[in-house]
């Protein structure tokens, strides 16, 4: 008789999910190794720019985690989560740009014969920031840009609210499947097109730049800043992994997986499917936004192209290749594919000369990625994460319900118990 299900789980949460402990262990080890090898902290084998690449990759892993929760677990193929990632980046970028420009303007006006008025400083900052789009006044959207806490709140609140309103409208009308994907894609396209305009108030296609220079910290070298951001990204990814594991571990996870598999049936069980979807959609949008807020100071620049629909499609590809429905699968997929992509598109991959034609990986990488995506979808739907299943199943195959002996008519488990 099975005792496991008959008693409430007594072990602490972490002990019941060994995958989570393993993941946190590997992440900690990775962070330690990179720190020791990094230029800004350790012996300097890893260059500052590569530390930044690794830090950015951790942020991408975090947004992949969000995508896996919303798609792999809840079955909502959102093609708009990179929009939330981008909004998070813009929100933090506005403060970074404002605060740094403020320091520059104040110091340049300090030599003037008369002390500058606040209006003069504000005008100076505005013309510095908006000169490129031919404006010299602050648009209303920058009202809180002077305040770090407020912009930090905006990182969470703006994408959260957008996801809440969008999700409420979409889920309430019971838009599902491919139609929902199209709708989310339309949302991110509309947002990108809006931001491309010069009068959007966010510097049009120039985007926000110089984000790697933290205001007031000019004396600290980039090598140190890069490793601190790397630590912050690792910490955020670790926390996000723990929270996501907790969300999917209990009955909530059971409900959202049930929604993924048969939405109508869940409704007849008395669960408000819309409320659950809205919760997951908003929650993952916030995770994506936090990841974005950590990503862009490392990237240094954000522009509307980052929000374009293709970014969200890449996100879905990472998760599919890594393995949907497994948190670590999403992380592996994002890390593997985005690092590989950096390698191929960075011009480091050797060209292949076929005589008549040379394969230049900068151009051909997307084709390779597309082919691998199709191949994974058809031949290995469980993705890279599925390899771990193969290993664990080989070690302890589940023979419950099988005959106990080799002969036909051997006693079955059920009969033996009686």
């Amino acid at each position: 008789m099975s005792d496991i299900a008959l008693n409430p789980p007594r072990k602490p949460f972490a002990a019941r999910y060994p995958a989570m402990l393993v993941f946190i262990g590997i992440l900690a080890l990775f962070t330690l190794v990179v720190s020791v090898l990094a230029e800004g902290f350790g012996i300097g084998v890893i260059s500052t720019s590569f530390v930044k690449t690794l830090g950015k990759t951790l942020c991408l892993c975090m947004v992949a985690l969000a995508m896996d929760l919303v798609w792999g677990y809840c079955g909502i193929l959102s093609l708009g989560h990179m929009a939330f990632f981008g909004i998070g980046g813009y929100a933090i970028g506005m403060w970074l740009m404002y605060a740094r420009t403020e320091i520059i303007v104040t110091s340049s006006l300090a030599n003037a014969p008369l002390p500058p008025t606040p209006a003069e400083i504000s005008d100076g900052i505005a013309s510095q920031i908006f000169g490129v789009v031919g404006a010299s006044e602050f648009p209303p959207i920058w009202a809180f840009a002077h305040s770090f806490p407020l912009q930090l709140a905006a990182v969470v609140l703006v994408p959260g609210l957008l996801a809440l309103v969008f999700g409420w409208l979409a889920f309430r009308s019971r838009v599902t499947g491919v139609y929902l994907s199209i709708l989310t894609q339309a949302m991110t396209l509309a947002l990108a097109l809006f931001l491309f305009q010069n009068d959007s108030g966010l510097r049009g296609n120039n985007g926000l730049s110089g984000l790697q220079n933290l205001p007031g910290l000019d004396h600290i070298p980039q090598s140190t800043i890069s490793i601190v951001f790397f630590w912050a990204s690792a910490l955020a990814l670790g926390l996000a992994f723990i929270i996501c594991s907790w969300v999917i571990s209990g009955k909530f996870g059971s409900v959202i997986r049930a929604i993924r598999d048969d939405e109508a049936r869940v409704r007849f069980l008395g669960y408000s499917v819309e409320a659950y979807k809205l919760f997951i959609f908003t929650f993952t949008a916030i995770i994506a936004a936090i990841a974005g807020a950590l990503y862009y100071p490392q990237a240094g620049i954000i522009n509307p192209a980052e929000i374009a629909p293709i970014a969200s499609i890449y996100l879905a590809v990472w998760v599919a290749i890594g393995g949907r429905g497994k948190l670590y699968g999403a992380v592996i997929g994002a890390a593997f594919v985005s690092l590989l992509s950096t390698w191929f598109t960075g011009g480091q991959a050797p060209d292949i000369n076929l005589g008549l034609f040379t394969i230049q990986w900068v151009d051909w990488w997307t084709i390779l990625l597309g082919i691998s995506f199709v191949a994974v979808t058809i031949f290995a739907p469980r993705g890279i994460g599925g390899l771990f299943d193969l290993i664990s199943e080989r070690r302890s195959p589940n023979r419950h319900g099988a005959a106990l002996g080799p002969d036909a008519g051997a006693l079955r488990e059920q009969e033996a118990d009686q």
């Binding site: 209990g250 409704r267 007849f268």
Partner: protein, 246 residues
């Protein structure tokens, strides 16, 4: 006798085709009822209307002692009010274990935040074990429900209905595809359930209906053709004409 569910004057049409036509139906709080009828008689649409999947064009669906209308509620609210439904094709969550399926259906607060913090208590586990025992799946609790046989899935779904603890069970063809022994067990489960709650069984199989030994409602072209004991309705001239075809 008090009434649990009262359907009156309900009509619904799909693209001009009247699937349900001025239907009236009543059931008490602890009663078994079999609904029979030829294909296209509106049996499934009838269940769709009660569970909120389909909104009728006209008519009333009143529920419980306070006679609240079910028509203004959505599917999940109706289910929370105490209507459980079993589909014709067994629909269990195949990717989850038998225990998870039962725990999912177990009567508890269903709002997202309550579920997020939910951890099963001893009495929840006892209830799951008790129901698993009833449906003969106690030894299968840890198995993925997708691995179960067809009959076991049907039972699991009945078990999920029971753990929902509804006041009214709507059961669509519970015995389809079952062996005689499995049918026997299913009959027992339903008869047992009907002692404390209302059970409506839609069934084609006359032999199965006879074993349920309950009042029978015959549907034809979306309205009630006859109602009474099985012997009564099978001797009705019109029933013989449209349904039994003999």
């Amino acid at each position: 006798m008090s009434t649990l569910l009262e359907v009156s004057g309900v009509s619904v049409s799909f693209d001009g085709f009247k699937a349900i036509n001025n239907l009236a139906f009543k059931i008490g709080p602890a009663e078994m009822r079999a609904v029979i009828g030829p294909n296209g008689a509106g049996k499934t649409t009838f269940m769709d209307i009660i569970t909120g999947k389909t909104k009728p064009d006209e008519g009333r669906v009143l529920w419980g002692e306070k006679s609240v209308s079910l028509l203004s509620m959505n599917e999940s609210r109706i289910a929370q009010a105490g209507v459980g439904r079993k589909f014709q094709r067994p629909t269990v969550f195949e990717d989850q274990t038998v225990a998870e399926n039962l725990m999912l259906a177990l009567k508890n607060d269903r709002s997202p935040f309550a579920v997020l913090g939910f951890r099963p208590k001893q009495h929840d586990c006892d209830k799951v074990a008790e129901i698993a025992e009833q449906i003969g799946l106690l030894t299968q609790l840890e198995r993925k429900s997708g691995e179960l046989s067809h009959g076991q899935k049907q039972w699991l779904e009945i078990g999920m209905l029971l753990s929902q603890d509804p006041k009214l069970l709507l059961v669509d063809e519970p015995a389809a595809g079952m062996s005689p022994a499995e049918r026997e067990h299913t009959t027992e489960l339903l008869v047992e359930a009907a002692k404390t709650r209302a059970v409506v069984v839609v069934e084609h199989d006359m032999e199965f209906v006879r074993r349920l030994n309950c009042r029978v409602t015959v549907l034809h072209e979306g309205s009630v053709l006859a109602e009474g004991s099985l012997d009564h309705v099978t001797s009705d001239e019109r029933v013989i004409e449209v349904y039994l075809g003999r």
